[in-house]
Symmetry: C2
Subunit: 339 residues, 2 copies
């Protein structure tokens, strides 16, 4: 451990600790000669500031927690990248925490972050109901919900998932599909529920001509997408849907793999549309159509809101920012032709 402290520096430079602190924080008020001596002592001892002590004194840290549902999902990595870009400009550190869709892990991370007195937390919650979060906010840690609209208790940034689902559904229906499966995850995740509601409303708008099936998995991963794909592929052709709308691209990629391994052609036998438009979607076996979200912008906006709240808590009014998704059509949802 770098164990040299400001006191040793002060001794070596023959000044008081207060002066060393001044050299570090307001060098202009220290005389050049003294400043030089202090710098030399710092260098000689290899002194490194103890940020922990500074925080304790200051009462607040320059760290923001970002709790995401799945670090393995590039969507969240992009959100994090956006947030970090802004944080960098504000001398702030972002610590990335992975709840992996597990409320227990989420809670442990939140506890840890609160105990560390982070400046604030950006979070994509596992569940729609978030009593811990509300307590945490009540105790004074600012929170911004990411990719999940808030109830007014705090700020949030989100993309209109209902609209996204609707766009995806309308697209598949327009392409001639009459039997569509929604490949989703736990409906407790707000985004999943909304996307499902969106596709459901698109189907309803078709006036009964289109049938919507639903498959749910415990997590939005490639493996779960593949598992559902296996089950769908195993259906007798007459019962099998001709198109799948997946709750995210990870699932879509897994679903796509299952189609391939069962000899089903995409999009001829099965059209697929994903969600998020992660970079890997375009590089997939069959380039994936997907509902695109402004990933980095979500992260940037979230931390902007947080920094705004922190810098002027009195003036701050909570805001709910909502972005629009848009559809990226690639090969996986080419027009339906009955074989």
């Amino acid at each position: 451990m770098a164990t040299t402290n400001i006191k040793e520096v002060a001794q070596l430079a023959r000044v008081s600790v207060g002066t060393v602190s001044n050299v570090l924080n307001r060098p202009e008020i220290v005389s050049p000669a003294t400043r030089e001596r202090v710098f030399e002592a710092i260098k000689k001892l290899g002194f490194v500031r103890n940020e922990v002590a500074r925080h304790l004194r200051a009462g607040r840290s320059r760290t923001v927690g970002l709790v995401v549902l799945d670090v393995a999902n590039p969507f969240f990595v992009d959100v994090a990248t956006g947030a970090e870009a802004v944080a960098d400009d504000h001398d702030t550190m972002v610590v990335l925490c992975n709840s992996a869709g597990d409320p227990g892990r989420e809670r442990r991370h939140l506890d840890q972050l609160e105990q560390q007195r982070v400046m604030g937390i950006l979070i994509t919650p596992v569940e729609a109901e978030t009593p811990w979060l509300e307590e945490l906010v009540a105790r004074g840690t600012p929170v911004v919900l990411v990719d999940s609209p808030a109830t007014g208790l705090q700020c949030s940034v989100a993309v209109d998932d209902r609209l996204g689902g609707q766009i995806a559904g309308a697209h598949l229906i327009e392409r001639g599909h009459r039997r569509i499966v929604f490949v989703g995850g736990p409906p407790s995740i707000k985004q999943v529920a909304d996307r499902q509601a969106g596709v459901t409303s698109a189907v309803a708008a078709s006036g009964g001509a289109v049938e919507l099936l639903t498959a749910t998995a415990p997590a939005l991963t490639v493996a779960e997408g593949r598992a559902i794909g296996e089950r769908v592929a195993a259906l007798p052709p007459a019962e099998r849907p001709t198109a799948a709308f997946c709750a995210n691209d990870m699932m879509a990629l897994g679903f796509l793999q299952a189609m391939a391994s069962h000899g089903l052609r995409v999009p001829a036998d099965m059209a697929i549309i994903g969600y998020d438009d992660i970079d890997f979607a375009a590089a997939a076996a069959v380039p994936l159509s997907s509902v695109r979200q402004p990933r980095e912008l979500l992260g940037r906006t979230a931390i902007d809101l947080l920094l705004e709240e922190v810098s002027d808590p009195e003036q701050h009014r909570h805001r709910q920012v909502i972005f629009q998704p848009d559809l990226v059509v690639r090969d996986s949802s080419a027009p339906y032709r009955s074989s």
Copy 2:
């Protein structure tokens, strides 16, 4: 900010701060009645321990920094996942930092981590020469090099990249390729240099029958892989290599996309082999052959070494752990047939 402190709890429970601390840390030595009163006060006030103060007092934290070359590369996400799994079992937090291949960013992250007095740092350095790192170690922060063999100054975990390159090269040669391009990144990155050395030695072993070209990019990303792919695709067919060995899967995916957009068939016109075997490699347009590394195991082993060093610095001897890569053959490197 959760601003209630141990003192207020003590007042409300009508005990001393020492007793509150005891309730928190050694509840068994406090009488049940007192303990209960303190718990009630804690609950009533919504008291949350200040980890910063604990840390200051204790002098050491329960946090480990993990500095990676590229968070957008799932390889590193998997390494991080492995490390976090072990950390979880030791009540330790992993802070993920992204150097993005930029020495400046790397240095800023290292400074930050040192100032926060983290327990130790796991890092995949941007450059082979690492003077800052050595100073950091000299000042007392334990460091474990990840995916990069150390010089003996500290522990390291790595995969034999030279062997990996050799395996990939031998495989392509065995498949009949006589003109191979190495799609690499900055040679300052040790892994890249080693993989290149490996393929070079495989080519040398062929006794002059095989020609090896080299393309380098400033970063190991999908975009850079695509850019190199564009250049290679533009070569006259006679000069064009028939196989590409990419420094990692991200580049391979980009390279693959470029082939597709130029109408070159993989593997008929161009065989491709990647490195890392990330999950997306199997889901690519043409499933990618790749040199597999034990990704999570790297992370687990790295933090194991770190925890070992921290828990008993006297006894600890630095170790260099080296794993073996193995080849995963998929469609992208099917046998070469002259068109």
